[in-house]
């Protein structure tokens, strides 16, 4: 790679990982992986879920120990047995999930475990002053005060507090694992400016892990692609296109993912009709959903997308208006009502609202079916006495698992999503609401979920798909509904452009694309 030698030729790498191998029972998570990071560089690390990105970073910061291979910091060979040792050497990581205490102040969080002392007591004055100084260096002191409780900060501000904590450790290398998954577009911009400044002014090296290729291309100078525990290639960002990177990750083109749309003969009778549905968060919803079609729902965060799904599933019911299912007027006042009407809901937050993590795949799949049978019914084995066969359902949704007795938490996100889908098929649902169906699911599994959605529609299901990823909305939907401030403000045909959707979603005033991802 001559290009990289030219750019970084004069510099020596600050971190050099060579021949890193890590085995877990049954799998080789990393196989002879080498990685060089230069000071002042923003280095993207991409790969599908399970490619080994997180394992590699955990080894770098001392949370795991490698089975083979060496890590050099400058010229010094290092081995870490605890994250603290890596921290002392200037290696910090900001994990995907937040590592802050909401009920403590910003300063208390920044200096957690290293509180400055005076006469044996915590010196709050100095702690607050030092935190303030760090906030000023980042020019964020006008929006975050050291004495404010972290609970009262926005997600982006909390992210910044994490960065401040990393800086207070005098970090030379900062690993960020999907830092933007909960941020809006504006907040992402603030964060990116901060990262860029830090690399320029302090020569900080940043390793940036993300599924969002747009961010990787916005931010990084070089990209390392991992696949199945191997480095595919390290490239200069300016030399490649997102399509190239995806091809390296999965061996497939980006625009290949979406199955063909429904033809006019596929679209059949109306399955679900809402007339003038309203509640505290929704106003005058009029909606028709037909069998055989996938209807996309777009809108900014807080526009009422998820509330619409919750209303249709009886979680936060409509308080006025009428609902018809298959031409019959119904009331959807509880999830049970909705399930009886053949509605299934795949929630946005799989971990908290979708799965019973430590129960088997079988029990998770049969959950809604058993609930329908009532409290005093006997749980027959699946496939017996009218109980659906989990094996058959699993095959239908292409669920891949070592055994159906496996606890569902051990499955990948994609397979968990398929198991939840199987749950609704078991309950006889044929009106399916998907809220962010592919959130946190890796690129190749995404395509699987998309194909599955289309197959279900072809077989007569009516599908409502909420997504904040516009390409997904455009790629999948036969019609696009756009929400804004609790109303359905537009219905757009298949093949509509991102601009048209954003125009409607922002109330038609401006088209700045918020929270869109590739």
């Amino acid at each position: 790679m001559n290009a990289s030698a030219n750019v970084n030729g004069e510099k020596k790498p600050i971190v050099r990982m060579t021949g890193i191998t890590k085995r877990f029972p049954g799998v080789v998570a990393l196989n002879q992986v080498s990685l060089e990071i230069y000071p002042g560089e923003i280095h993207g690390l991409v790969g599908e879920n399970g490619a080994g990105k997180s394992t590699l970073m955990k080894i770098l910061v001392g949370a795991y120990q490698p089975d083979e291979g060496e890590i050099y910091l400058g010229d010094e060979r290092v081995t870490f047995s605890h994250p603290q040792e890596a921290q002392r050497k200037g290696l910090s990581i900001i994990y995907q999930e937040f590592n802050l205490l909401p009920d403590r102040t910003v300063a208390e969080n920044v200096f957690l475990g290293r509180e400055p002392l005076r006469h044996g007591l915590v010196d709050y004055r100095q702690m607050n002053a030092q935190t303030m100084a760090l906030l000023q260096q980042l020019d964020v002191h006008h929006m975050i005060s050291p004495e404010v409780y972290v609970r009262d900060l926005s997600v982006a501000q909390q992210q910044i507090v994490e960065i401040v904590r990393a800086l207070s450790l005098d970090s030379r290398v900062l690993v960020m694992d999907e830092p933007t998954s909960a941020l809006s577009e504006t907040e992402v911009e603030i964060l990116f400016n901060l990262i860029r400044n830090l690399t320029v002014e302090r020569n900080l090296a940043v390793i940036y892990i993300s599924h969002r290729l747009r961010e990787i291309f916005d931010l990084t100078q070089r990209i390392t692609v991992l696949k199945d525990g191997n480095v595919v290639k390290t490239v200069q960002t300016c030399d490649v296109t997102p399509n190239d990177v995806v091809r390296m990750m999965v061996g497939r083109e980006l625009n290949e993912y979406y199955p063909p749309k429904a033809s006019s003969s596929d679209v059949r009778e109306v399955a679900l009709r809402v007339v003038n549905g309203s509640n505290a968060r929704l106003k005058g919803i009029n909606l028709e959903l037909r069998r055989g079609e996938v209807v996309g729902v777009a809108g900014l965060q807080g526009s009422g997308r998820t509330e619409l799904a919750k209303a249709l599933f009886g979680v936060e019911p409509f308080t006025s208006g009428s609902v018809e299912v298959n031409g019959r007027a119904v009331r959807l006042d509880s999830p049970m009502d909705a399930i009886r009407c053949g509605i299934g809901f795949l929630t946005e937050d799989r971990k908290r609202e979708g799965i019973l993590p430590s129960q088997s795949i079988r029990d998770n799949v049969l959950l809604a079916f058993r609930a329908l049978r009532g409290v005093f019914s006997i749980n027959y084995r699946d496939g017996v006495r009218g109980t659906p066969s989990v094996a058959e359902l699993g095959k239908r949704v292409d669920l891949r698992a070592p055994s159906y007795e496996t606890q569902i938490r051990y499955l990948s996100g994609g397979n968990q999503q398929k198991a939840i889908l199987a749950r609704w098929l078991a309950s006889g649902a044929n009106i399916l609401i998907f809220d962010e169906p592919t959130r946190g699911i890796d690129v190749s599994a995404k395509a699987g979920i998309h194909n599955l959605l289309r197959d279900l529609a072809k077989n007569g299901a009516a599908i409502l798909m909420i997504s904040s990823e516009l390409p997904e909305i455009i790629g999948m939907s036969d019609r696009v509904l756009v929400m804004h401030e609790g109303r359905l403000v537009a219905e757009l045909p298949a093949g509509v452009s991102e601009t048209d959707i954003m125009l409607a979603a922002t109330g038609g005033r401006e088209t700045h694309s918020e929270e869109t991802t590739i």
Binding site: P83, Q84, Q87, N99, L100, L101, P102, D103, R104, T105, E108, L112, G113, R114, E115, L117, G120, L121, V122, H142, M143, I144, S145, E147, V148, Y149, R151, D152, L153, S154, A156, Q157, S184, T186, E187, E189, I190
Partner: protein, 328 residues
């Protein structure tokens, strides 16, 4: 580009520093005063009644300070009731009415307290057994050991030792001073020491604490030693009041569950990480005011318990509603 969230005002932080339990305490105090003056037999706003409220809060109050630490750190301690019994029985048994044996007795019971705390801490951190089960089990062990050796009041404390319960510094009983000192020291450690910070961190999120370099096991060990020591202090107060210790003094006072209730009424989150000793003091005083009010009104024992239960639920529900508003 505009910022999505305005900077949070610092005044909000300052206001939140007063535990909301004090507002409830104030409300209940005023209500009690009014109700007793209107319908009661005695008078409420006189020094005797007010001192009585404080004195009857001492035994529960001291151990509740310790329990606050346990709950703040995400743990809890059910063994305090029997540790109080062990303390009461052992100290009167060792003293046998002899003032010269007082220091020995105190040294022994404090050592027992440290030992029990260490055992609880070790079971929780090393064997990774849930604190509920761990401390329930050590509690059973203490009950068993105590019941084999003692069936009734054992020994007695010297008259001079009873001064702790019955004398005072001017109008303020020594026992109330003891409670005050324990509470102030308890709050000070939480607010101003690293250990205090780490108690909040371990209770708030154990993994975050660990990744920040805090030795969480040591913090939990320290917390359990502290709870046990407060239980010992409560036991010492109780035996000085009764003159002799019996195996049932701890469980009869239900100090295990009552102390947890006082902590929670004081506004500390049962899941840990949020709350204060100051809040717990308010929680204990709420119970004290209620008891005194019920006595002056001649409310029956059973109805008293029902009303107590109602107040606990009402207080904790008001916090839950409050925190929901904060989120929204």
């Amino acid at each position: 580009m505009t910022h999505t969230t305005p900077p949070v005002k610092m005044t909000l932080t300052r206001l939140r520093a007063i535990p909301p339990a004090y507002f409830i305490l104030l409300g209940i105090f005023c209500a009690a005063w009014l109700v007793v003056e209107l319908f009661g037999t005695g008078s409420f706003m006189n020094p005797d009644t007010l001192t009585n409220i404080l004195v009857r809060s001492v035994a529960l109050g001291i151990v509740a300070v310790g329990q606050s630490y346990a709950i703040l750190s995400g743990s809890l301690d059910l063994s305090v009731a029997y540790l109080i019994s062990v303390t009461a029985v052992m100290s009167s048994f060792i003293m046998q009415g002899d003032p010269q044996r007082v220091p020995l007795a105190l040294a022994v019971v404090l050592a027992i307290g440290v030992f029990v705390g260490l055992i609880n801490g070790l079971i929780i951190t090393r064997l990774k057994i849930h604190p509920f089960i761990a401390t329930l089990s050590t509690s059973l062990m203490m009950k068993g050991l105590l019941d084999t050796g003692f069936q009734n009041f054992a020994g007695s404390v010297p008259k001079s030792f009873q001064a702790l319960a019955y004398d005072g510094w001017g109008p303020i009983p020594y026992s109330v001073l003891l409670f005050l000192v324990v509470a102030v020291v308890g709050e000070f450690i939480l607010r101003r020491t690293r250990f205090g910070s780490h108690v909040y961190a371990v209770g708030g999120n154990r993994e975050v604490a660990r990744l920040s370099g805090i030795r969480t096991a040591r913090v939990l060990m320290g917390v359990h030693v502290l709870v046990s020591l407060t239980a010992v202090l409560s036991g010492i107060f109780i035996v000085s009041r009764l003159g002799s210790g019996a195996p049932w003094v701890g469980p009869d006072g239900a100090y295990d569950l009552e102390s947890i209730a006082a902590v929670v009424v004081g506004g500390t989150a049962l899941s840990g990480g949020r709350g204060s000793v100051a809040g717990t003091v308010a929680g204990v005083l709420i119970f004290g005011v209620l008891d005194t009010m019920f006595n002056l009104l001649g409310v029956g024992a059973f109805l008293k318990l029902v009303l107590r239960g109602v107040i606990i639920i009402a207080a904790v529900a008001s916090y839950a509603i409050r925190s929901k508003h904060e989120v929204a």
